[in-house]
């Protein structure tokens, strides 16, 4: 096999192996720890979903958790027994009151709804410039939250939707996460994604060679919406209950943090970040209820876990602006990938690597948008 083929294989096998390791460990854990492991896998699935859009396009989105939310509620409502639905959510629309779907059907439906919702949002927002689009997606998150939290006809409103069948075990969570990884991998080998990545490196040049940024961003956004909806279904079936506050700002932040800390521009980074920080996050929240490490038992005050998580996150960003994987795929460097200097794949932290100005500027990575360069170069100036 040539090195480039090996690299391609590693690009897929690395993330899959990591998911497999988590599954193997989870299989030998106690039931309560297993719940945490399932949670980690589901979170990693969401992060891979985020990666498909944010990583490939270089455009941030605060809106993907709305697709998780919609997926979770659709899957949750349609698998709850009809009688329970009538008593807990009496105002429900007729079409939500009937069929009871199986676990698998509900997961597929959630993915479909996620994709459709993302398509609608994307048609509206993907024409915006990168940073503006990112902030505008905040509007989507707020709208989704507001409607889900208040409208009794489409869901439980502010109350918790309980008594959802718990059908996602270690097996299903593992397969689900693996499916997301394979989808993301297949997509990033596609022609459309390559054009999207070209637009990430340099929007003007990409447009100059005839790339429709809008169309490819929309494509990635819809696929990401589908994976997020799918992950939402896994989420609700793993927990057995869902409240709208669980799929709002906190989850938006923590999943974005996982993506960025891992390395937002590689599938390996997304998977690694999702799993490592997922473990960290569930460890920290367990510590609020008392835990022991190496025989030392301690209890964190309530709320402190969020602060620690945030500090570690901001610190990690400062130490590794391009993520733990430096935006590289699994083993890419060892298998002889040329350094970033010659690579096109930059964007989210493209200017991060730019040191001072002038020719010695380190990674010049094909993103010469004049304004950005000038600003990045100048903010690298000592501020005294």
């Amino acid at each position: 096999m040539t090195r480039s083929r090996l690299r391609l294989a590693a690009e897929l096998v690395g993330p899959l192996a990591l998911v497999g390791v988590v599954a193997l460990v989870a299989a030998h854990l106690s039931t309560s720890d297993q719940t945490d492991a399932i949670n980690v896998l589901v979170t990693a699935t969401i992060v891979v979903g985020l990666y498909v859009f944010i990583g490939n396009s270089g455009v941030i989105s605060f809106g993907q958790i709305s697709f998780v939310a919609v997926g979770a509620f659709v899957a949750g409502i349609y698998t709850t027994p009809v009688s329970t639905r009538h008593t807990t959510m009496p105002d429900l629309f007729g079409f939500l009151g009937r069929p009871v779907l199986t676990n698998m059907e509900s997961i597929l439906l959630a993915a479909g709804i996620g994709a459709v919702f993302a398509l609608i949002v994307g048609l509206a927002l993907m024409r915006l410039s990168g940073l503006s689009a990112g902030i505008a997606t905040f509007a989507v998150l707020e709208i989704t939250y507001d409607i889900l939290a208040n409208w009794g006809k489409i869901g439980p409103g502010p109350t918790t939707l309980a008594s959802v069948p718990v059908t996602t075990g270690v097996g299903q969570a593992t397969i689900g996460c693996a499916v997301a990884v394979v989808l993301a991998f297949t997509y990033q080998r596609s022609r459309s994604c390559r054009m999207l990545r070209a637009s990430r490196a340099d929007p003007l040049a990409a447009r100059g060679i005839g790339v429709s940024i809008f169309r490819h961003r929309l494509g990635a956004f819809v696929l990401s919406g589908a994976i997020c909806g799918f992950a939402g279904a896994l989420y609700v079936h793993a927990l057995g209950s869902i409240n709208v506050t669980e799929v709002y700002l906190a989850l938006t932040f923590s999943t974005l943090a996982m993506l960025v800390v891992g390395g937002s521009q590689s599938l390996w980074g997304a998977t690694l970040g999702g799993i490592l920080l997922g473990i960290l996050s569930s460890f920290l929240s367990n510590a609020e209820n008392g835990t022991s490490v190496f025989g030392l038992s301690f209890t964190l005050p309530n709320g402190l876990s969020s602060i620690i998580f945030a500090i570690l996150f901001v610190g990690a960003l400062m130490l590794f602006p391009r993520g733990l994987t430096r935006n590289r795929e699994f083993l890419a460097k060892a298998l002889g990938e040329r350094s970033d200097k010659h690579r096109l794949g930059v964007g989210l932290s493209s200017t991060a690597a730019r040191g001072g100005d002038g020719p010695e500027a380190g990674d010049t990575d094909g993103a010469p948008a004049a304004a950005t360069t000038a600003h990045a170069a100048a903010s690298a100036e000592p501020e005294k």
């Binding site: 024409r127 410039s129 509007a139 709208i143 932290s349 950005t372 600003h375 100048a378 501020e383």
Partner: protein
């Protein structure tokens, strides 16, 4: 009279959001980076007013300015400076992280149920009664915003510092080549941004005295979406965008029937999304503006 009342109230909320948009826009102008943690500066200012509730009001307000400016400068030193050279998106997510962490901190220190700042309560008395009550604070808000925004205009267009700031916003490298000390300009941008956050903190706490951990975050998300609505690239348009979002939000709140009031936020955001669908470069950007600049 009812319509006038609605309009005045809408203008005052618009003015408040315009001030928040300015405080974000000033930093964005010189650094091309969005400071999501600006909301926490406002929250901090609001909590500081609560902490200083026993002091004379004027002193509390002066100290609130000090607190906000200090917090803003601290953000610059602790977050923006270490991340200099990072892409706008990295900084955006980093400030989101700072915001998230601080929110958890407020929750631990001040509790979830909120603290009531009973300061300048006289301003909540009505000027004109009737179907739509006009409170003094609405007029104060409009006045304060008018004074501050014109002061800022004067500063930007008539002072040497303003010229340096505009030059930096236009082309940082060229500005430095002609001798502008970028570091100082950036520091001043953060000082001004902190000062406008303090104004917002004072006005917002008089208007809604209950300060909760998400006090500033809610304001900042609204104002940021407004900034995008107006046009991220231009301070004037961004401010106007903030104003429009506040204005629309307040008007929707006035005309919606009682049981639909919970959807005011959604409808305002929906309005923004629809406008952006038609004018992706921002509502106020000139036609044909290059969408893909930032």
């Amino acid at each position: 009279m009812t319509v006038v009342g609605y309009l005045v109230n809408a203008i005052s909320l618009g003015a408040l959001y315009a001030l928040i948009a300015v405080s974000v826009g000033l930093v964005f102008g010189v650094l091309r980076q969005i400071n999501l943690a600006q909301g926490e500066v406002i929250t901090f200012g609001a909590y500081s007013l609560w902490l200083m509730r026993t002091l004379p009001t004027w002193l509390a307000i002066v100290l609130c300015f000090g607190v906000c400016i200090a917090a803003s400068l601290l953000l610059q030193v602790a977050v923006f400076r270490p991340l200099r050279g990072a892409s706008p998106l990295t900084t955006l997510i980093a400030t989101f992280g700072v915001s998230y962490g601080l929110e958890a901190l407020w929750l631990i220190v001040f509790g979830p149920s909120g603290n009531t700042v009973s300061m300048l309560t006289n301003l909540n008395l009505t000027v004109v009664g009737g179907t739509v009550a006009l409170r003094w604070i609405t007029l104060v808000e409009i006045g304060a915003a008018a004074v501050l925004l014109s002061g800022l205009l004067y500063l930007l267009f008539r002072s040497s510092l303003g010229m340096r700031m505009r030059a930096t916003a236009e082309d940082l490298r060229a500005a430095r080549l002609v001798g502008v000390r970028i570091g100082r300009v950036v520091t001043w941008a953060f000082v001004l941004s902190g000062a406008s956050a303090a104004v917002v903190a004072v006005l917002a706490t008089v208007q809604t005295p209950l300060v909760t951990p998400t006090f500033g975050l809610n304001l900042i998300i609204f104002a940021l979406v407004g900034v995008v609505l107006g046009g991220l690239d231009h301070l004037g348009r961004a401010t106007a965008g903030g104003f429009i979002v506040g204005f629309v939000n307040s008007l929707l709140g006035s005309v919606l029937p009682e049981q639909q009031l919970v959807y005011v936020t959604s409808l305002t955001f929906l309005f923004v999304v629809i406008v952006l669908m038609v004018r992706p470069a921002g509502l106020l950007a000139p036609r044909g503006a290059n969408v893909e600049r930032v």
